[in-house]
């Protein structure tokens, strides 16, 4: 399946990745070649094959629902781009 300019822009928007029109053009080229390679998957008949999402037949271990982490807000916020009063700052969302 070929990828078109609009697909690239749509994916870029969904991924919140800034891509200009000119850059999208270049990605159409790169991504088309990657998808062309990926399209070989359709050569294989997978009728009735269950998808495998995890390489081991593992079960999800459960633990008691208890808080095990200590509050380290100050440490975590010390590496944030912008904080105030223990909150993360972002541009105004609601006017």
């Amino acid at each position: 399946m070929a990828i078109e300019h609009a697909n690239v822009l749509r994916a870029a928007h969904l991924a919140r990745l800034g891509v200009s029109d000119a850059q999208a053009e270049r990605y159409v080229d790169d991504l088309s070649r990657i998808l062309e390679m990926v399209d070989r998957l359709s050569e294989i008949d997978t009728e009735g094959v269950a998808p495998l999402s995890h390489p081991l037949d593992a079960t999800q271990p459960l633990r008691a629902d208890e808080a095990i982490e200590v509050d380290r807000r100050e440490t975590f916020q010390s590496i944030a781009p912008a904080t105030a009063d223990g909150l993360y700052l972002v541009p105004r969302v609601v006017e």
């Binding site: 990745l17 891509v19 390679m37 997978t46 590496i79 944030a80 781009p81």
Partner: protein, 483 residues
């Protein structure tokens, strides 16, 4: 001291031939001298290393030293190290000081190892040549015109150049085994889930696995003893007994059944690599092994399946880099969308963007079944190929990469670069362990023999690799380094 294996250094420390401080200072000095030309380290933690070395020496003085006490290591810059920049080779995390340690880092620290620093890598582990690093490419110590492989290229080059006796890498599609092959060292990708992924910056979570990179299989075994095991903080880590990987290294290989996958010796394999690998197999025959031809019929589907599954998982994992809580943030965002879009456009490199776009596209409405679901179905068929093969043989052998190390800049086309991983990628999709061991030199470029085993078969792989290293000396060859 820089030429010794971990096991030899452990004996030297135990015998009091030298202290950890002496060893550590000598390597730090060597890094200062040699690494500017190689670029294998992103961050060298001198002061902290000397403190850790002194602590290890003090423990030894009190008679409380363990087997790994005082031994220097380096970490691929994908492992979170508390108080130390952890960049994942990305501008996005250039200012990220990790607030906690990865579980493996914690375990190896607890075992008394000394960290010399963080090694260079392809950005977010996406690459096979280490050319995708924000910090510049790494040079192969065997020849500075060549790539060291990737994505754990810094770890491989640092070990090969004698800057550190061992380093940690991660392997999502070959990122431990291929650079180990290109640099002439030994690198083990354990079974998926054998080593905790907690604190390891995620690329493709159903494929990522950490492993040791060192001079010998014995050294990898020593490290695995400290690294492996269940971790309550990684729900995909496996709760299963960890054997002593150093026991049984010398078990004779009489009657070992080796399978040679026909698909691993076909078109695209460089003749000099094939010659070296077949010669290694002959060494195994002389050690009493039996060789059988086998088939892994879905081999050619591994790269296509991987380039759906890995980018899909990456596109989800990398959504956390939003310029809000840590990492890069663009200047003067006008609104939230502008903040996200420009932060991510500025912070990520080209290859990372390609994979985010591919992953987002294949997961998006209208494409999911054709790509993601299909790739997961084929993933099951690929795993089944290995299960069928291991019903007949004990291990599989073949090349780790189709060629020896190539020149910097030689593979500008992304698809050409992806094809590098033809022999390594299926192993991650199947979740089985694999090891690359030095098995020859062609035109002074190392060749890696890849040995594969069934799930949780790493103890046996290490045994098979170790016995080979007792019979050959390829792992003792060192590049000539201009000092």
């Amino acid at each position: 001291m820089h030429d010794k294996t971990l096991a030899e250094l452990a004996r030297g420390l135990a015998a009091g031939d030298f202290s950890s401080r002496e060893l550590t200072s000598s390597l730090l000095e060597r890094i200062k001298r040699i690494d500017p030309a190689l670029n294998s380290f992103i961050t060298v933690t001198d002061e902290q290393a000397l403190k850790e070395a002194d602590a290890a020496d003090a423990l030894r003085h009190k008679g409380e030293a363990g087997i790994l006490s005082g031994l220097p290591l380096a970490y691929k810059d994908i492992f979170c190290t508390e108080g130390v920049r952890t960049s994942a080779g990305s501008k996005m995390l250039d200012n990220f000081i990790a607030p906690y340690n990865a579980t493996v880092v914690e375990k190896l620290r607890h075992a008394g190892t000394v960290s010399l620093g963080k090694t260079n890598m392809d950005e977010f582990a996406m690459g096979s040549s280490n050319e995708n690093s924000y910090y510049g490419p790494v040079k192969n110590p065997w020849n500075p015109k060549l790539v060291p492989g990737g994505s754990s290229g810094g770890s491989a080059a640092a070990v090969a150049a004698g800057l550190v006796p061992a380093a940690l890498g991660t392997d999502t599609g070959g990122s431990i085994r291929q650079p180990a092959a290109f640099c002439g060292i030994t690198g083990l990708k354990p079974t998926y889930g054998r080593v905790s992924r907690y604190g390891m910056i995620a690329y493709a979570s159903s494929l990522d696995q950490a492993g040791p990179m060192a001079r010998t299989a014995e050294d990898c075994a020593m490290l695995m003893n400290a690294m492996a095991g269940h971790d309550a903080r990684d729900s995909t880590s496996v709760s299963r007994n960890v054997p002593d990987y150093t026991q049984g290294l010398n078990k004779p290989l009489n009657g070992l059944k080796i399978g040679l996958p026909v698909e691993y010796f076909g078109e695209g394999l460089a003749p000099e690599v094939e010659t070296a690998v077949r010669e290694a197999v002959r060494v195994y025959e002389s050690l009493g092994a039996q060789v059988i031809e086998v088939s892994l019929p879905h081999t050619s589907m591994a790269i296509p399946a991987y380039y759906v599954i890995a980018p899909a998982e990456a596109s989800a994992n990398l959504s956390r880099y939003d310029g809000v809580r840590f990492g890069h943030r663009c200047k003067d965002p006008v609104d939230l969308e502008d903040l996200y879009k420009r932060t991510r456009a500025e912070g990520f490199g080209d290859e990372v963007k390609r994979r985010i776009l591919i992953g987002t596209h294949t997961l998006s409405e209208g494409f999911f079944d054709a790509y993601y679901r299909k790739a997961q179905q084929i993933r099951r068929l690929i795993r089944q190929d290995f299960l069928d093969a291991f019903a007949r043989v004990d291990v599989l052998m073949g090349p780790a990469a189709p060629t020896t190390a190539f020149e910097l800049g030689a593979k500008a086309d992304p698809v050409q670069m992806y094809l590098q991983d033809i022999y390594t990628i299926a192993i991650n999709l199947a979740g089985i362990p694999g090891i690359s061991v030095p098995a020859g030199l062609a035109d002074n470029r190392p060749v890696g023999l890849q040995i594969l085993g069934p799930h949780f078969g790493e103890a046996h792989l290490l045994n098979v690799a170790h016995v080979y290293q007792q019979a050959t000396d390829w792992h003792q060859r060192r590049p000539e380094i201009k000092e």
